[in-house]
């Protein structure tokens, strides 16, 4: 393989290793969104980054087969790919005692902490994660994709393969169910 001397001296990658401009642009434009989706499923930085890289590798192979031109919405396509990769990599969620995290959140509130302070606490994140895990699968998937803040309702509908109206309805039901659960936890703590 011929490698120009200037390329070696300048430290630039060899010609054979230069990426397709479309793939490189996709990485720069969508990597954060793809990472956010992966993290929303995996809740782990290392696993989320591995899933993100796998998604872009699939994009590279897709481009080698000259099929990239068939993709209409690259953002939705990447979201769908990384969603599936993340679900494949998903491990069992470590069991967290609902009672313990609920006690911790109640303690924060009793000490006069505000809503933002409680929401930013690690205990509240653990409690919310536990409550989301308890949701039905269809509601949990829609909510997980929504909380990333990276995808619109039509894009979520594309990823899940359902109508956009169903996405909105599921998000509404998921939020209502989360509120009921949170109220139940708060009431249980106040009765004690």
């Amino acid at each position: 393989m011929f490698v120009p001397e200037q390329a070696i001296l300048s430290g630039a990658p060899p010609i054979a290793c230069t990426l397709d401009a479309a793939v490189e642009e996709a990485v720069r434009e969508h990597s954060r969104a793809v990472y956010g989706i992966a993290f929303s499923v995996l809740r782990n930085h290392q696993d989320a980054e591995d899933a993100t890289q796998d998604a872009f590798v699939r994009l590279l192979r897709y481009g080698k087969q000259n099929r990239l031109t068939t993709v209409r919405n690259l953002r939705a396509w990447l979201a769908r790919v990384v969603w599936r990769v993340a679900l494949d990599r998903r491990r069992a969620v470590p069991e967290v005692s609902l009672q313990e995290v609920a006690n911790a959140v109640s303690g924060l509130r009793a000490r006069g902490a505000g809503v933002d302070e409680i929401a930013a606490s690690e205990q509240m994140k653990l409690l919310l994660g536990r409550l989301i895990e308890g949701l039905p699968r269809n509601l949990r998937d829609a909510l997980t994709l929504s909380v990333t803040g990276e995808l619109s309702s039509p894009e979520i509908a594309t990823v899940l393969g359902i109508p956009e109206g169903s996405v909105r309805e599921r998000l509404w039901r998921a939020r209502r169910m989360l509120k009921e659960k949170l109220l139940a936890v708060q009431e249980g703590q106040s009765r004690r």
Binding site: S31, F39, V57, Q65, N66, V115, G129, L178
Partner: protein
């Protein structure tokens, strides 16, 4: 805290928690790590045309294998000879049916004497002539078929020389053919059953009086 205030607090807490839940910052250098991984992947994996060529070769090989298997199976099919729609005629059987009755009838007729023997011999000889003609026809037919289809087994055999001589003898002198048979001597003559003059049974013989006499 009233019920409404508590509900509003939970609403606010849920919104804030969901907002915190989504705010995830990747570790610095995410894009560079992804690009480095993609370059490594591109350098190690074969180009797109290689994938397509490999797939095409595999497909062509599969088609060739299928065609060769089909062609080989066609060659191994048994080839039936042209015009053979049934079993080959067995001349051996028709020859036996012609010669065995000939000997049997000659032997049987030698036991009889006089005009009856002569008449019966004539009928038998005519019968034999027609049968021998049928045999010769079947032999000719079988020979013709044998020339056309050499793969018929067992191949039809013509009449032996003795059989031909016997047929010629019967054809030329049907009345004297029985002379050619071996003489059975006195044993043959003694074996003849003499004619018995037995009166036929009548109804009067079955009457009560006649029966009484027998009792």
């Amino acid at each position: 805290m009233s019920q409404n205030e508590h509900s509003r607090f939970v609403d606010d807490l849920l919104d804030a928690s969901l907002a915190q839940y989504r705010s995830v910052e990747p570790r610095p250098g995410l894009e560079n790590r992804i690009l480095a991984r993609l370059r490594t992947e591109q350098a190690t994996s074969p180009p797109g045309w290689a994938w397509r060529m490999g797939a095409g070769l595999i497909g062509a090989g599969a088609i060739l294998a299928l065609v060769s298997i089909a062609y080989r199976g066609r060659l191994e099919l048994p080839i039936s000879p042209a015009g053979s729609h049934g079993p080959a005629p067995r001349v051996e059987a028709s020859r036996n049916t012609a010669t065995v009755p000939l000997a049997q009838s000659l032997t049987r007729r030698h036991k009889h004497s006089g005009i009856e023997q002569s008449a019966e011999l004539q009928r038998g000889s005519a019968d034999l002539v027609s049968k021998s003609a049928a045999v010769s026809r079947s032999v000719k037919t079988a020979e013709g078929r044998q020339q056309r289809r050499l793969d018929v087994f067992p191949s039809p055999a013509p009449l032996s020389q003795e059989e031909r001589l016997l047929v010629n003898l019967v054809r030329q002198s049907p009345d004297g053919a029985w002379v050619a048979l071996p003489d059975q001597g006195e044993a043959g003559a003694n074996s003849r059953v003499p004619d018995q003059n037995i009166r036929p049974l009548e109804m009067k013989d079955l009457s009560d009086d006649a029966m009484d006499g027998t009792r």
